[in-house]
């Protein structure tokens, strides 16, 4: 187990480094003078000169990368071309809001998706199963931004139950969380149904039933516990995906998170912030994947890594 843990962490390291390289190259690959991209379109010649000196833009790419990496390790992500604030400060302001939204969304997905999947799997072929599956199919086919706008139209504009946009009270969180979680909910419902059906057809379930165990015990103690193991993995991965899905949801609901910051920065060509935001989401995603893998190894006794 320890060996596996170490190896898994070792594998994540080059990935993280690759992510940093790609984000570093973003500014160097984009058309235009990197100094202008980093300093903003309206920068004075002095600022441009300062940026060139600071990032060593007159030197070779490998050297530039080392300068970038060294600054990154010190927590220096540069300065926003728009607000002139350090990028790290910007990220610190916006990231917690995205985490809050994504956590609420994954909660919605787990609390509705998994029970729906279980209900469907217990009565395969029934009307309930069919409607859950149709809803789930619609759920994965629906653009998040369309669902969000319809939700605003019905529940905010029409019924007036929730605020249209912004952040503040718990009521502000409801619609964005459901919107962001809709795809994950559908995915979890389908996944839970699939794995549970597979487990229910196994021999040991027949054995459990044959020895006279109550159906409730068979389902919850024998079947569900095993069926949920792969679901846990998906929940973890989906949480990472939600961090990026938040880009669209935050734009709809004017939620002051990382996604809104990212889109606004791309449109304003504020590259230091774009780099920082992308880096933060990607690194979080790699770390979440790592955690999920380790968790998987811990909860599934069948998995032996060596």
């Amino acid at each position: 187990m320890t060996a596996y843990l170490l190896r898994r962490i070792l594998i994540a390291l080059p990935t993280l480094l690759g992510v940093v390289v790609l984000v570093f190259l973003m500014v160097r690959l984009a058309p235009g003078d990197p100094a202008v991209l980093l300093a903003g379109e309206f920068a004075t010649p002095e600022t441009l000169e300062a940026i060139r000196a600071r990032y060593g833009l007159d030197r070779g790419l490998p050297e530039q990368f080392l300068i970038y990496l060294e600054a990154l390790l010190r927590g220096d992500l540069g300065e926003s071309a728009r607000s002139r604030r350090p990028v790290l400060e910007e990220l610190k302001t916006y990231f917690p809001n995205t985490l809050e939204l994504a956590s609420a969304a994954i909660l919605v997905a787990v609390l509705t998706g998994i029970p729906l999947g279980v209900l469907a799997a217990l009565r395969p072929g029934s009307g309930l199963d069919l409607s859950v599956m149709v809803l789930a199919l619609l759920g994965v086919s629906m653009p998040v931004f369309w669902f969000g706008l319809l939700a605003i139209l019905i529940f905010s504009v029409g019924l007036g139950w929730f605020p249209v946009a912004g952040k503040g009270t718990l009521a502000h969180l409801v619609l964005p969380a459901i919107t962001l979680g809709i795809n994950a909910t559908a995915l979890l419902a389908r996944m839970t149904r699939g794995t549970l059906l597979e487990v229910l057809s196994q021999d040991y379930i027949r054995t459990a039933r044959a020895k006279g165990l109550a159906e409730r015990v068979v389902i919850f103690k024998h079947a569900l516990r095993n069926a949920l193991i792969p679901v846990v993995t998906v929940v973890g991965l989906e949480f990472g995906t939600l961090l990026s899905g938040a880009v669209i949801t935050e734009t709809i609901f004017a939620w002051p998170g990382l996604g809104q910051l990212l889109v606004g920065s791309i449109l304003a060509r504020d590259y230091p912030v774009v780099q920082g935001a992308v880096l933060l989401v990607a690194i979080s995603f790699v770390l979440i994947n790592l955690l999920v893998d380790l968790l998987y190894a811990a909860i599934d006794p069948r998995v032996r890594y060596d």
Binding site: P143, F145, L149, L150, I266
Partner: protein
């Protein structure tokens, strides 16, 4: 036809998906004929007209039929209809000239005879006919999907197959590359690429396509790894087949089924991502009738004119649903594990 394919065609989900897709293809092929107006022709006096505004079933003399009265937006009082004027709806009428796939014409399936317009799904912020724009948006979304999936397949298959077949250092290297690309979850990779390439429809397609590369690579790698040490592959080598021949003729054909399933599902994802980019202002530019972009426009006047955001979204859902239905049905029919 082989049994799996017959099973596929008998599947209700597959039939629904095929029917939906067929309708969309029909709409794309005959867009200028089915659309009463050009997707770009605007009328600033009739912005945000609700669907079917001004339509009545009785003519000026009380006769039955489809009649349209001119609808326009009054700056203060909102939508107004001049009910005293009525013009008949005609089928197969001559209207705005169009040129489509090398064919020129001016015939439209339906239109209004006289100075009024029939807005089946209402108008947008520039008084353009939403129904026409949604029809013209079908080929855009379909080509986004095709180009993106094409890029994913073309780059992803060799990236997955070659290193896996060669093994060793190459496999390790390719795997790290795929891992790095997969570290940007969901739509983020496409957004990163757009940030590099710059916004636009073509760049959006490329970005969504490259975002699909690691997914294809991982899929093909799995197939190649599971097969390359099997006896029949070794037998082919022993008989003197070159590596290229073994890979292309003996191993990769086995990847066709999973690739087909993945491609159908990937079309759905590509269309969703591209619409998402359009919605964020990172994809297609105005005045292109791209659904995501149209939806974004509708967002500003959601309470006044909900139809502007609703119908393009519905169009996206239908097309994405078609590919998801097909992908699911293909998997049920062709994937031996799901039986």
């Amino acid at each position: 036809m082989t049994r799996p394919w017959r099973r596929f065609l008998r599947n209700r989900l597959a039939q629904a998906g095929l029917l939906l897709l067929f309708l969309y293809l029909l709409g794309a092929l005959f867009a200028p004929f089915l659309a009463p107006y050009s997707p770009y022709s605007q009328d600033l006096r009739s912005t945000y007209i609700p669907p079917l505004a001004g339509l009545s079933l009785r003519g000026p003399g009380g006769e039955w039929g489809l009649w349209v009265s001119p609808a326009f937006r009054h700056p203060l009082e909102g939508v107004q209809v001049r009910w005293e004027e009525k013009y008949p709806v005609r089928f197969l009428v001559r209207g705005e000239a169009w040129s489509w796939l090398g064919v020129r014409g001016e015939l439209h399936l339906f239109g209004v005879e006289g100075p009024a317009r029939l807005y089946l799904l209402g108008t947008d912020e520039q008084g353009r006919d939403l129904f026409s724009r949604i029809l013209y948006g079908i080929p855009i979304s379909l080509s986004i999907g095709l180009v993106a999936v094409g890029i994913g397949l073309l780059l992803g298959t060799p990236l997955g197959a070659l290193p896996a077949y060669l093994g060793g250092r190459w496999d390790l290297l390719a795997q790290r590359l795929v891992d790095i690309l997969l570290a940007f979850p969901g739509i983020l990779l496409a957004i990163v690429l757009v940030a590099i390439l710059g916004p636009g429809l073509l760049n959006g397609m490329i970005a969504v396509g490259i975002a699909a590369v690691p997914i294809y690579a991982r899929l093909v790698r799995g197939v190649v790894l599971s097969l390359k040490s099997l006896d029949y592959v070794e037998a082919a080598r022993a008989l003197g087949a070159s590596h290229a021949r073994v890979l292309l003729r003996h191993i990769l054909p086995n990847a066709l089924t999973p690739l087909l399933i993945q491609t159908s599902l990937q079309m759905a994802i590509a269309i969703l991502f591209a619409a998402g980019l359009g919605f964020l202002g990172l994809g297609a530019r105005p005045p292109e009738p791209e659904w995501g972009l149209m939806l974004a426009r509708g967002r500003e006047y959601l309470a006044v004119a909900p139809h502007v955001a609703t119908f393009p979204g519905l169009a996206i859902v239908g097309l994405v649903l078609a590919f998801n239905l097909l992908g699911d049905a293909l998997r049920d029919a062709l994937d031996p594990r799901s039986r």
